[in-house]
Symmetry: D4
Subunit: 157 residues, 8 copies
């Protein structure tokens, strides 16, 4: 079985990516992960830092968001599976945008969020192939999907 590529979209303020990667390593999964730039200030500043300052906050954001999009769209296009994480803070419209983009590209989407967000996320979940509550469940899904094995305990918690 060859390698799978998994893109991890969404929330940048908690350790969910590290927990998925740790669980995947523990299970020795044939998976490589990619993600947006998760350094918040780098992500905000990349446009003006590289291409020159802007006096208007709108264009500062615009420049940066487009530079980030070069990365994110390319990585989503290369991914076999896209995991989208929603936290309880921030509006995270970019995560929902990524989910829509991935769904239109026929990429299987796994959402990861607290049950408290179920109603607010119903349209996004409806487009997902699986709805997980913990990073470890995502790792178990990837274990099952890539190797066909239900290795529940090994993924830890």
């Amino acid at each position: 079985m060859s390698e799978w590529t998994v893109y991890l979209s969404g929330e940048v303020h908690t350790d969910w990516r590290a927990r998925i990667e740790t669980a995947a390593r523990r299970l020795d999964l044939p998976v490589s992960f990619s993600s947006p730039v998760t350094d918040h200030s780098a992500s905000d500043d990349c446009g003006v830092a590289i291409l020159g300052d802007e006096s208007s906050p709108f264009w500062k954001d615009h420049k940066g968001a487009k530079v980030n999009a070069i990365r994110t769209r390319s990585l989503i296009d290369r991914a076999d599976v896209v995991v989208v994480r929603f936290g309880d803070k921030y509006r995270q419209w970019n995560a929902a945008f990524d989910a829509g983009y991935a769904a239109a590209r026929a990429k299987p989407v796994i959402t990861l969020h607290d049950p408290a967000l179920t109603h607010a996320l119903k349209e996004v979940d409806a487009a997902a192939m699986a709805v997980a509550e913990t990073p470890e469940q995502v790792a178990q899904l990837l274990a099952y999907v890539t190797r066909g094995e239900l290795e529940l305990s090994a993924a830890g918690a």
Copy 2:
């Protein structure tokens, strides 16, 4: 010039759709509009009302969201332009999802929101062809795009 089809995605609690349609009518634009079901309770209940009740809120939402998606995806796929409205209430992840879906389908997206949301919406705006603040601006954009005329005063405010 033939007819254009414009899909109006997003916020259902204000009159922005009516204002765009009124302005478009006043300008006699060759545009027909489509939208998701904007009756909130119908939209929430359609799944269980038609297909049978669910004890779990998750599956109630899931059933409804998929029924709504039959409509929204078809209408986005037929649209020439997709307008996505974000208000200051609610998380509206479905609006951002639609924007991502439309962008991946190479549909031109116009976002409509208050400047206060600029930073939170920067990734969505970066994928848009125009960022408007009022419904009347959207009508003016449609007048320009469909007829090539800058009819600013006629669109009203």
Copy 3:
């Protein structure tokens, strides 16, 4: 709102198509229906009747199935929604094939079958946007999807 086209795939031995069409007419839905050739012997014989006899049953079937496929693939490709009906008799692999074909073409699929078939149809239902049990539910779904109205009683039973 413009017209919607709905393809009715599957079972040919019961009156489910007529019931959907009757309910849709009663609701005055902006929907036109298409379907495979439902005259069973015409469908079986079309290949050899038009193009010449075959001594081998395999090639008789093959010729006929391909002639039918000219119709069915074209109609699915033009459809906005594909309804796939499974009955409790026959193996109906062509219905499941149509569902897979439609799903890969990103057409929204509605399945229609008795709950007794749930486990056997789980992969097909998983790719569907709605799972109905009666033709009248399908008509109600179409009413909701095309007009955004929940008109439950009017669809009859």
Copy 4:
């Protein structure tokens, strides 16, 4: 000549996959095989085992089927050739679904079944590039397709 990837869809209760793989190994073919999860209970339970229990059998099946679909769709999308096996037991609508999905994705399909199923499978066979009766014939087809050699005896029986 580079490697070919062959997806083996369908029946999980006989040894047809192993027989194709054995014959391919004996012929030293440049082919790697992929398949759905063939452990029947793992395949049935994966959804609830990983993502949490369901009281309704419908949603238990739904959850599992979607998790399985992450795997099967990805593997079909990566395959150069899709082999679909129909046995005489079970309805195997998922196999026919896979055939329709693969055909719509322009993947060459080889069906593998007993001649007794010819009439029931005529629409699926009509979309196939080859209709085989034994796993060894499939291996011979793969030998011919990948290396251009007719090595009939070597494939064994």
Copy 5:
């Protein structure tokens, strides 16, 4: 049932197009036909007649063939069904090219030729959904495909 569009590719020296159109009219089929320019000298000369003379026969042909291709590719792309006729004279590589082009665009192809050409045309026939020997059979196929009726005698001979 809405209108079907059928493109008639290939041989220009016999009356096969007229015979199909006559039979279709007699059956009152919901079909409109399109075809390449069948005036042989217009087809050969269009490039140089409109865009200026060429001293080299190669470039004269090249100019004309590209002008013709504007028409033929557009019409094939709009067609629901492509009929490709091979006669026993001329090499008609353009007809085989059209068949390959149509097949790659997932258009159903019907070939029309004498059984004497079977072996030479085996690759083209293998990509076709039906192989007819007479124009009247093509009309009967279209009657069946568009209306689902086997009207054999009415098509004449």
Copy 6:
């Protein structure tokens, strides 16, 4: 024969569009034409006039160019044929961009320019189906392509 749609891209300072339309009307061609906004100042100002002023010339241009792109991309996507005109003044990178965009969308391109530009335009001409020097030649091409007639004198000069 149904209607053809022709998009007229490029130079806005000469009367080439009017000459093509006049010649097409004289020939009574089944063609409707579309084009970018050709009022130069409207095209330059549309972004800031509708969406608000910008202090930086770059962002003024950017806003306007994106609004124009909503129109031009939609019209190219709907066109059957794209004509791209290059004059001897201005750099007209937008015309070449449109040609590349249309070519990638498999739209047949006709270029229209003076022979003096041949070397500079060789890559664009190489992607074109015809290279014309006068608007009347374009009309003659459209007459030939849409009706299959060589009506040279009638197109006038």
Copy 7:
């Protein structure tokens, strides 16, 4: 620069493939070649030899042609460049079919044939990116395309 894949379609009775491969080896090009099965009787018999005999020559050919198509379509789909060779014998409709198929897939096509065939092949040549007369010219084209060098003498004759 990474490897290029070149598919060699058409004539099987002369040594043109070997001459291209020899010239490419002499130039040490980063190119790997693929081709249909060029053993004429294997190609004719593969269907019945593997899948069982046929009494009708039509179905014998049909079976074989479809098995060959598994190989040829897959290899064309993987190719970066498709070379199509036409000789002066045989009708080679399969070569023209491959050219049409490749063109519709946006694969660059190089045709290889004697100038005597120019008029008969004008539609195919019109879809080609280069028209060569000798295998050595094809190798020189590949040297230029893959390495950007004009190495004329080294390709030999």
Copy 8:
């Protein structure tokens, strides 16, 4: 993180490609570069040098441009990012054509040009994800996009 492929389109008379590659090497970026043939006379002469002389300059250019297009289209299609450079000399319609082609293929485009060209390039810039003024900025963009790091000083100037 795997390798990224970047195509460098446009101007051939300055050292901008070398400067990007030097900066990328200094930053040890996981990027491989491709480009059109930048030897001007080879690029002009390749058609006639390989395929035979032409008396008309138009056809000499045509032959060469198509041979070059085999290379450029293939490389753009394989690229993850397309950089398009415009200088102040020459009309460089091929660069704008490449930008349009890449945009239609959904490849992220970075333009590189002097601010003096802003107005003339507004439509091309509007389709770009980033607009750079120096090759070093392009290298910094690639560093950020491929590794997520803002390494401004290391890219040099």
